[in-house]
């Protein structure tokens, strides 16, 4: 028996508890109908934006991408704040939190596990909407120069596959619910995310005109105007996706992580409605942070507000990938550090607030 055995065992137990609570939070959150509805709305809106366009100025792809990212941020915020509200505030009200804390679980562990659970839900959502955004951008009208046709062409197949993926996911979830009595919400949520990932992977096998690379190879690739990718050689798999969106989406995920932490902290004291309202307010003020700061002395209300709130402009860089631009990974790393700092501060405040909270 070594003296540090007890400590490491306690640490192991805390990790196990964190994992168990986070997992329960994740499952509990995604089985809620509203979580699935939010994901469905975000994915369908993103996929349908390229379809329902009435004006075209050659920027269809950009519009689809920006819409997808905006959906990711707004719907993600609602999902994160709503989930945190229900899982923390709701459990405190109905006594589930008291039951869990009646076991040898520390309050800090409980709250951090809840925050991790909320973050996990947000990440799943983010993955689904990111894939839908990639599909929407690929599916939107692009100018191509082909042997038989020159002009704007929509990648209808990709969009149809994206929407069909959602439909299939719903059918599978319904079948699992009917035959296996599995929870519909969980199956549907995971299914929709999975379907979008699979369609994203599948897009590598065909070009914008629907010609299969494994059958036609480089010729098809060049004919479709996508010759920029491979000048020579047999192309078997070439996803025509704008992968430069991923760093931008990662920044949005960091913003969502901040909201997940903030909402979890707020939910220790407030019900879901006010939590959601405050998060929405922080989003608006955070996006206006730059404007607030301009010309404001530091020791003024405006200066303090701008200094205390997370500057969300750091996480909203859609324009950076327009016209072939890209975001440096170094910047993404710095943004991650900034987001992490915000999360730690918010969760620290949340832990303090939760420590003094009556659970009776």
């Amino acid at each position: 028996m070594f003296p540090h055995d007890g400590q490491s065992r306690a640490r192991g137990l805390a990790l196990k508890q964190t994992a168990a609570i986070a997992r329960a939070t994740l499952v509990e959150a995604i089985q809620q109908p509203v979580a699935f509805l939010i994901l469905l709305s975000a994915v369908m809106t993103t996929l349908l934006v390229p379809v329902f366009q009435f004006h075209r100025f050659g920027e269809d792809g950009r519009l689809a991408r920006d819409s997808g990212l905006a959906c990711m941020l707004v719907f993600g915020l609602v999902l994160a704040a709503g989930t945190a509200g229900r899982t923390v505030s709701g459990e405190i009200t109905c006594g589930t939190a008291a039951a869990a804390l009646g076991k040898p679980v520390r309050r800090v562990t409980f709250l951090l596990a809840k925050a991790l659970g909320v973050l996990a839900v947000t990440m799943l959502f983010w993955l689904g909407v990111l894939c839908a955004t990639l599909l929407a951008e690929r599916g939107s009208a692009h100018f191509i120069s082909h042997i038989e046709y020159t002009g704007y062409v929509m990648d209808v197949i990709t969009l149809v596959l994206g929407v069909a993926g959602v439909a299939v996911a719903l059918l599978v979830a319904a079948a699992r619910h009917y035959y296996g009595r599995r929870r519909f919400g969980v199956s549907a949520f995971v299914g929709v995310v999975l379907s979008q990932v699979l369609v994203v992977l599948a897009t590598g096998f065909y070009n914008r005109l629907g010609q299969l690379y494994p059958l036609l190879g480089e010729a098809a690739c060049l004919d479709s105007g996508a010759g920029h990718a491979h000048a020579a050689g047999w192309v078997f798999y070439h996803p025509e996706l704008n992968l430069r969106v991923i760093p931008v989406a990662l920044l949005v995920l960091f913003a969502l992580a901040i909201f997940a932490a903030l909402a979890t902290a707020l939910a220790t004291r407030l019900p879901t409605g006010p939590t959601l309202a405050i998060c929405a307010g922080v989003l608006l003020l955070g996006l206006a942070g730059d404007s607030l700061l301009i010309g404001a002395p530091f020791w003024s209300v405006r200066g303090l507000v701008a200094g205390l709130l997370p500057d969300l402009q750091n996480f909203w860089l859609c324009d950076a990938v327009a016209r072939g631009g890209r975001i440096a990974w170094r910047y993404v790393g710095a943004a991650a550090l900034y987001a992490l700092t915000c999360c730690v501060l918010f969760l620290g405040a949340g832990c303090l607030a939760f420590r003094e909270r009556d659970l009776g």
Binding site: P33, L37, S41, V51, F52, F54, G82, P274, A277
Partner: protein, 459 residues
């Protein structure tokens, strides 16, 4: 005695409805929902006008105070009403509290009306507070900045030119196109007529330099001695040129045969407005005069000046005194209140069908769909609407538009900002549809669901 029994029946019913209303109001007051809402509204009314920068003119300041502040406050109230309504039944069913009330001799409709009334009362109070705050700010600005009499907010009756209705005009153009065999192919008669009617609403007509245009008016309320009448024309110039434009406006009273001519040469604001005292039209009978003619002669140099473009139905108007500004604000508040009444009814209808999060989500999505749908209907061309990929979206938008057209017809803030009196028709239409007919339908549907729904579960 039947009448006595009836009276007792209604008295008991009123008490039950009152009980439900008081409970809902108490819930809102004691759960700090109203306090949070009032803080938001106060921030909106007090902070927003200071943050948004105007153009420095009294009109600009007034525009910000009325349009921005009231729009924001109204938007907040819309969302708050919708979500609160979604919570009223759903939360009570989820928490099983409704079981205690449902076993009492209360009808579903009494529950529904009681909760709806609670929302109406709270909205009325909130709207009054907001409008009073804005009115106080307008007054404060007037005093502080010393606005001229002409710059002060007013309320005036609006008379538009006597023109064929858009439908009549559409039919005339259709007949003309048909006679010349120039109807577009591939479209049904109904579609063509609809497009023509839409275009008639927004149609611009040109008054070229050297040209003249006259319009006839019939005032709804006669003009009496001692009152003033204002003529207003708004216009665009070709290619937005800023060249010097000049003209002569002539306003004549048909009944007395006297006219007033006003030469005009300041067109920089793209709006002409001049006020004429009624005495200028000669001997006005005691019962007042109603028929007027306004003409405009474009006297600029045809070689250098541009033509004026006007939408006759919208841009030309005669304005006569129409009560005080604060009464007009009250009427605008009533229109807004009626829309909130409809949203409350809509939220309650969803609340009896779904759990709170789902109801709130569906309500928000439908609200967004309504806004998007109405915008799509306005901007989409018939050519775009015919494309297969747009068909579903356009169809949904048109359905949404036709379902909500009457509810959203009234534009109280535009009227307030333009100094136009919100007429009784607008008020009656808004209150009738939004606060009466639609809620009645929604109440019937909700009660049908509530009666059939099981209010307990397996526990």
């Amino acid at each position: 005695m039947p009448s006595k029994l009836l009276h007792r029946f209604f008295a008991a019913s009123a008490r039950r409805i009152g009980g439900v209303t008081v409970l809902a109001v108490r819930a809102a007051l004691r759960t700090r929902t109203v306090a949070a809402l009032l803080v938001l509204l106060a921030a909106c009314v007090l902070v927003l006008p200071g943050v948004v920068k105007g153009d420095g003119t009294p009109e600009g300041e007034l525009h910000i105070l009325l349009t921005y502040t009231l729009s924001f406050a109204f938007g907040i109230l819309c969302l708050a009403t919708l979500w609160a309504a979604c919570a009223l039944f759903a939360a009570e069913i989820d928490s099983a509290r409704i079981q205690l009330s449902a076993v009492k001799p209360v009808r579903a409709v009494e529950f529904w009306v009681g909760k709806w009334l609670a929302l109406l009362v709270m909205n009325a109070v909130a709207l009054l507070v907001v409008y009073a705050g804005v009115y106080a700010q307008v007054h404060w600005r007037m005093c502080r900045d010393g606005w001229e009499v002409i710059e002060r907010p007013v309320s005036r009756h609006v008379a538009r030119p006597l023109l064929p209705t858009p439908r009549e005009e559409a039919r005339e153009i259709f007949a003309d196109l048909q006679a010349r065999d120039q109807l577009p192919s591939g479209y049904s008669e109904r579609t063509i007529l609809r497009v023509l009617e839409q275009k008639a609403h927004e149609k611009y007509s040109e008054i070229p330099p050297g040209g003249r245009q006259a319009w006839r008016f019939q005032l709804r309320r006669p003009l009496h001695i001692g009152e003033v009448i204002a003529a207003r024309m708004r216009f665009e110039t070709e290619y937005n040129t800023r060249t010097q434009v000049s003209g002569i406006c002539r306003l004549s009273c048909v009944e007395t045969g006297r006219a007033v001519e006003v030469p005009l040469d300041d067109f920089t604001l793209k709006e002409i407005e001049f006020v004429v005292d009624a005495r200028a039209f000669g001997q006005i009978p005691t019962e007042g005069v109603r028929a007027f003619e306004l003409s405009f002669m474009h006297t600029s140099d045809p070689k250098r000046a541009a033509g004026l473009l006007l939408r006759f139905r919208k841009d030309v108007a005669l304005l006569t005194p129409g009560g005080s500004f604060w009464m007009n604000m009250l009427r605008a508040a009533a229109v807004h209140w009626s829309v909130l009444a409809l949203l409350a009814a809509f939220g309650l209808a969803l609340s009896v069908c779904f759990s709170l999060p789902v109801a709130a989500f569906v309500a928000t999505m439908l609200l967004v769909l309504t806004m998007v749908g109405n915008s799509v209907v306005q901007v989409v061309s018939e050519e775009d609407a015919q494309k297969w990929r747009n068909r579903a979206g356009v169809l949904v938008s048109r359905v949404v538009h036709s379902a909500t057209r009457r509810a959203l017809q009234a534009k109280p803030l535009a009227a307030l900002t333009n100094g136009e009196r919100i007429d009784t028709d607008m008020l009656r239409t808004s209150l009738g549809w939004n606060a009466l007919l639609f809620p009645l339908l929604l109440a019937a549907a909700s009660c049908a669901v509530l009666r059939r729904r099981e209010l307990a579960d397996t526990e």
